[in-house]
Symmetry: C2
Amino acid sequence: MSEIKETSTNFANKTALADECPEAYASNIIGGQWTLVICSWLLSGKMRFGELRKKLPNITERMLTLQLRKLEEHKIISRTIYAEVPPRVEYELTPIGYALKPVIKALESWGEEHRDLLNNQL
Amino acid sequence: MSEIKETSTNFANKTALADECPEAYASNIIGGQWTLVICSWLLSGKMRFGELRKKLPNITERMLTLQLRKLEEHKIISRTIYAEVPPRVEYELTPIGYALKPVIKALESWGEEHRDLLNNQL
DNA sequence: CTCATTACTTACATTTTATATAGTACCTAA
DNA sequence: TTAGGTACTATATAAAATGTAAGTAATGAG
C-alpha cells in the first residue's frame, strides 16, 4: 500500500491504461489482495471491523485497515462510527459497491470452471 | 515477476484465500497489470507478439513476454511458433480463455458505471 | 488505579511486481 | 559484408504491496 509515486512510469502506465480500458480501470480498483473477499462478505450485509477480521483469518489489522480505507476512498463502502466505548465502526457497501455483485459472480464461476479444468488434467 | 517465495506469509495467504474463494483465485490469475487488456485484445482473434506490442503502446517487451508466459502457464492462451525467418509467433485464447469474456464485460460495465458516478460528483 | 476491549496507527522489514537497458539467434536481401 | 526485422533473454534497479511488531485513545468494570 503506502503511497504511489505520481512520477513513476508505473503510475503513468496504469493511468493511461485505465483511461482507455474500463476493465483495466476496474481491475486497478478491486485488484488488491483482499478487496474482493471483503466485498464478498459485505454483500450479505454490514459488518463491524472485528467481524471482518474474524472472517479473514490471516489478514493483519494493518492490511484490513488499508483495504477498507482504499475501498472507502473509491466510494465502494461506507464507514459509520458509533461514539461508544469500546468503539464500534460499521462498514457497508454503497450502491456502486453492491453493483460489484455481477463482477464477483462472474469471477467466481470462471474461477471454479478454471480450477476444475486444471484438476481434471492431472 | 521473477519468482515467488513459497515460504512467505504472502504466498501462504494467497494460497489459502484462493483455496476457499474462487473469486480470489480468479483475481490472482488475471489480476496483473496487463493481463486483462491482453485478453481483451485476443477476444477478437489471434495476434502476433509484435501486434500486441503495438496495441499496448507503453508495455516493454519484457513485460509482454512475462505476461504472455504467465497466461500460457494458466492455460488461458496458446502459443504457436512458425518456423520462419524472421520468426512468427501467434497467441490465441484457449476455450477457458474465451470464457473470460463475461468477466471482462462485467468489469467493463462496472468500471464505466463507477467512473461516471465519480465524474458526476465533481 | 489497573485492566480489558475495540478499532485503529506508526515505524520498519520483506516480498512481489514493474521498468530500463542491453543483448541474442536466425535468415534474408542489398 | 552489413544491416534489418522478430521474438525474445539477461541483468539491474525502482516501485508497490504486504507483513511484523509495537503502541494509542477512550471508558467502564473491578
